[in-house]
Structures are given as C-alpha cells and as structure tokens.
C-alpha cells in the first residue's frame, strides 16, 4: 500500500481540490469542534484507564494491605514477592500450558468448520448458525452446563454416563488435580464457546479468495483437495490466521470466568487473573502485591500486543479501508 494522503476519492482535476475553507458555522473554530467531539471520550479515558494504570504502578511500590492510600514505600519488594511466589509463577505456567493447547486446537477447529461450511450448497446458513450459537452463551453459563451436567463427577453426569455404558468407573472430573482431568473440562468448554466466532472470521476470509487462483491452479494440474488447500487456501489465509492466533493468545491470557466457576475454591489450575483476584481481593486484600502482579502481566502482554499491532498495521499512516 502506498502511503498516499488522499483519502476517499481522488478529485479529477487539481483545481477542484478544496483548500481549507474559511471557518464558518455557528460554533467558530475547528479546534473547538475537535474538543467538542473528543473530550467526553478522552476525559473518560484519562479517569478510567490512565489513572488506574498510574495508580497501579504507584501502589506496586508500596506495602498496601486493606488500604489504597499507603505510606510505606517498599521499592521493588512487591515485585520480588510476586516473582518468587510459587502461586503467581505457577499461574504463568498454567497459562502457558493452557495457551499451548487451546490456541492451536481452536485455530484448527474453527478453520476446519469454516472450510466445511464454505463447501456447502444448501443449508449453509443453518449449519453456520449452529456453530455460531455458542457465542451467545456466556462463559459462566457454559461453566454451569459443563460442571453440573456434562462433567458432573457422579453417575448422572453425561460424560460418566457415556463411559459407564462401556463399563468404565466414574471419574471425578473437577475434584482431583491428579490425574488432571480438569484440563479436559476447561479446554472443551472454551473450544465450544470460541470456535464459532473464529469460524466467522475464517469464512469471511475464505470468501475473499479470488476464484481465479483456484482455476489457475487447476489448469496447472493441482489436484483439488490437499494440494490446493496447501498451496492456495492456506497462504491466502495467512493474515487472518495470524490475527486469529494473536486474538486467541490474548483471550487465553485473560482467562478468568471459566476457571473461576469450574474450579471454585480449588488451589490448582489458577491462571494469572484468577491468582491476582485472590491476591488483591481475597483474604489479605494485598493491593500492593496485586498491583505488582498486574504490572508484570501488563508488561508481558505489551510484548504480545506490540507484535499484534505490527500485524494489524496500527500507525501506518491513514488509509481508508
């Protein structure tokens, strides 16, 4: 893309280009108008985004329990405490394991569904809706269905009923950290909730692939199926794939709802946000340590989103889509 400065339609004749018009209108200057439009948002952004972030950084250097106006400066002590706290570092490990499974599987399932739906001749809207429907479900609602009906540890849970037909004993899916069956519960719940949403993204991308490419490939003797998919479809989907993987990563990073509801009160399987929740708002109300943890997480995610910004092309000049 060229970094042209003309937005919208280029005018046919240079003489027609409208230079800055004399100021008019009942409300005076452009500057006034600019602030009129942007200040409600910007004031809110400062108060509810910038100030909390600043406050968080400030609190992270203080001993702050049960108070948000601390006086006891402790330097990097909170950071040291968090980074040596096996619960917090463990939560980062939990996130890593979680992301390592959920990102590739969701990517594969949503792409697979999109490829199938894209090939349908009739009933396409119906199938698309079926896979998309779980998006209407909240993580909390899905957690309830998973915890109380599918993976209920007693006999009447669906999973135990099904394995019972094959003569297998009941499994306490969520109540035991060893063997870690709870991972199956968490991963299937998120997979079910997320896949349809990303399928829509892949479907949109698939419909943007020019048909001529497939025709040209057929003329060149590429067999339909794997070869075409491997050499045409996948490369054409590269941008969407990259975006989807980054979105999945950031979403996994912020996982809270299903862990909190599926594993309520257990000490295992805590991702970073759940750990922070218990640190800052639990028994000890340790705002200092909680804030230090938030800063560490923010720095980690900054690395990811910077990378993401690169790919989504933020700040590459103004280009109309």
């Amino acid at each position: 893309m060229s970094t042209t400065t003309t937005r919208g339609l280029a005018s046919p004749a240079p003489a027609k280009v409208t230079k800055t018009r004399p100021r008019r209108g009942p409300r005076g200057t452009r500057t006034f108008n600019f602030w009129l439009f942007t200040s409600p948002f910007l004031i809110g952004l400062i108060v509810f985004v910038y100030i909390p972030i600043g406050w968080s950084v400030y609190l992270s250097f203080f001993e702050a329990r049960f108070t948000v106006t601390p006086s006891d400066f402790v330097g990097l002590d909170n950071y040291r405490q968090m980074l040596t706290d096996s619960n917090f570092t463990g939560s980062l490990g939990t996130f890593t394991a979680f992301a390592a499974f959920i990102v590739p599987t969701t990517w594969a399932v949503s792409l697979g569904l999109a490829l199938l739906v894209n090939r349908l001749r009739f009933m396409r809207a119906f199938y698309r809706s079926v896979f998309f429907l779980p998006t209407a479900c909240s993580y909390v609602a899905a957690s309830l269905i998973w915890k109380m009906s599918i993976f209920n540890g007693v006999r009447f849970g669906l999973a135990n009923t099904v394995i019972g037909w094959f003569g297998v004993d009941n499994v306490a899916w969520l109540a035991n950290p060893d063997p870690p069956w709870y991972w199956l519960v968490i991963l299937t719940a998120r997979l079910w909730l997320q896949s349809g949403f990303y399928m829509i993204l892949f479907l949109a991308a698939l419909q943007n692939i020019p048909r001529e490419l497939y025709e040209a490939a057929a003329i060149d003797g590429a067999k339909p199926g794997w070869q075409t998919f491997r050499h045409i479809t996948l490369p054409q989907l590269r941008a969407t794939s990259t975006a989807v993987i980054l979105l999945l990563l950031v979403a996994a990073y912020q996982a809270f709802d299903e862990f909190f509801n599926l594993l309520s009160k257990t000490t295992w399987g805590r991702p970073p946000l759940v750990e922070l929740y218990y640190t800052a708002l639990g028994q000890n109300q340790n705002y200092g340590a909680g804030s230090a943890g938030a800063v560490i997480l923010t720095l980690l995610i900054c690395v990811v989103t910077l990378f993401q910004g690169r790919i989504m092309g933020f700040g590459r000049g103004d280009q109309s889509q």
């Binding site: 919208g8 948000v68 779980p134 909240s138 609602a141 109380m148 709802d257 946000l273």
Partner: protein, 271 residues
C-alpha cells in the same frame, strides 16, 4: 470428500455443538429426580413448564433483580459506548487539529493494556468514588473502549466526504452535519458495533463480580455464578435460570444476525 460425506461430517460436528444446548433445555424442563436418576433419561417424562417461574421465586438468589440489572447495564453500556466512542472516532478522523495524531496514539497505547488486567486499580478507583454496588460503577468505567474508538475512526476515514460537504454548503456546522448526515448514513455500522458491544456487556463477568459486593447489585452472570457455591443444589432451577439468562442474546442472534456477522467480520475482536 463427496457431497454425502461432507454432510455426514458436518452433521456429526453440529450434533456435538448442540449437546450442551440439549442438556440445558432438558435439565431446565425436568424434575430433579429425573436429572439425577440412576438411568439416563433423554427427555423429561412430563415437561415441567412450571420451572420457568422458579428462579424468580427463589429466596436465596434474587434472580429477577439480577436480570433487571443486566438489562439496564447491557443497554446503557451499549448506548453509552457507542455515543462517546463514535464522537471521538469522528473527531479524530475528520476534524483537522494539530495534535490529533498525538492524541490518537494516546488512545492506541491503551489497547496494549487489556482492561481485565487493570481490574485491581480500577476497582480501587471506583470504590474510592463510592460507586461500588451501583449502576454507575457497573457501566461508566467500561464505556471508554480505545478499541471501539479506533474502529469508529477507521470507519469514518472511509466515509464519503461529499455528503458532509453538501451539509456544509447548507450551512451546518460539524455538530449538525454529524447528527443529521453522518449518523443516519452509518446506521449499519452502528448496528454492527452495537450488537457486539451488547453481547460483550451482557456476558462480562469479572468486573460485575468485583463491583457487585451486595447481591442487590449482581448482574445475571454473577447470580449464576453464585449458584455454584450454594449449599443446596437445585438442578432444574439452576438450569432454568441459565436458560433464561441466554434468552436475550438468542433474541439478538435470531433478529440481528446479519449485523452481528458483519460486526465480527469488521472487528474480529471479542472484548
């Protein structure tokens, strides 16, 4: 893959995806002995329509109040977010100002910090304002989405200039042209962003959990979550409440799917 094979494969996948909904509806309309019985029952013997009113009559969790809270918060969250973010997006895209780019970067920087990560200081701030357990605390902090502002800016950059110029010739200022010309011609985009915003607002859990210290301020998601820690487990009531909590979004799905799909294709982001 043959056409038949394709339909077999996709139907199997569809069945897997529908199982949780089947369980939800089956459990919501059964009696507890049927749900917890020794043998698996695929359908309730008698559909228990009477279950529908039970969550509202439950004394331990005020489910009706939580539905009202969620509806109020969901609607105001959507209207408010669209209002402030679209105005700012338009200002940044269309009104020439020396420092507009610097300000835009200040907005973009906030995209680096997911709101979920800063819930601790946000909670601290909101509680020092005295907004815990109030609609203000549930709604206002979430209105200022850098991402939504960014989307509106991108959209308005591509908005045809001719329409505004015509309005300008008719003597309208920026403000008048925006409300009379720009917004009426952008309703599709507004609808797309609104559906996504509403779904995210309705389903959000962490922030309402933090703010709703008192049960009277719980949203429906927090109320559902509280069922998991109750002493007595009343299966059909819990599943009926869950089913009712999904209804407003099913409504959105059935009637606004066009905008929803368009919104997802345009944004590709879930809050």
């Amino acid at each position: 893959m043959s056409s038949t094979g394709l339909y077999v494969a996709i139907s199997v996948a569809a069945c897997f995806f529908l199982v949780p909904f089947y369980l939800l509806i089956r459990n919501a309309l059964s009696t507890d002995p049927e749900i917890t019985g020794e043998n698996w029952k695929f359908f309730p013997t008698h559909i228990q329509w009477g279950n529908i009113t039970e969550p509202f009559a439950d004394t331990t969790v005020d489910f009706g109040q939580s539905m009202v809270n969620s509806l109020v918060v969901g609607v105001l969250h959507t209207v408010g977010t669209l209002f402030v973010c679209s105005l700012a997006g338009y200002g940044l895209a269309r009104i020439p100002y020396r420092h507009a780019n610097k300000i835009f970067y200040a907005v973009l920087v906030t995209l680096m910090v997911p709101a979920a990560v800063t819930f601790v200081p946000s909670f601290v701030l909101v509680s020092s304002l005295g907004w815990v357990d109030s609609y203000r605390g549930l709604i206002i902090p979430g209105l200022f989405s850098g991402f939504t502002c960014f989307l509106f800016r991108q959209y308005f950059l591509g908005f045809p200039k001719e329409l505004e110029e015509a309005a300008r010739v008719d003597g309208l200022g920026y403000w008048g042209a925006y409300w009379r010309v720009v917004v009426p011609n952008s309703l599709n985009f507004f609808a797309a962003i609104a559906t996504i915003t509403f779904i995210n607002g309705w389903n959000s859990f962490l922030w309402p959990l933090v703010i709703g210290q008192d049960p009277s301020a719980w949203t429906v998601q927090v109320a559902l979550s509280s069922y998991t820690t109750n002493q007595t487990v009343n299966y059909h009531l819990i599943f009926m409440a869950t089913a009712i909590s999904i209804l407003p979004l099913l409504f959105v799905f059935l009637f606004l799917q066009r905008w929803l799909v368009q919104g997802i294709a345009q944004t590709g982001i879930k809050g």
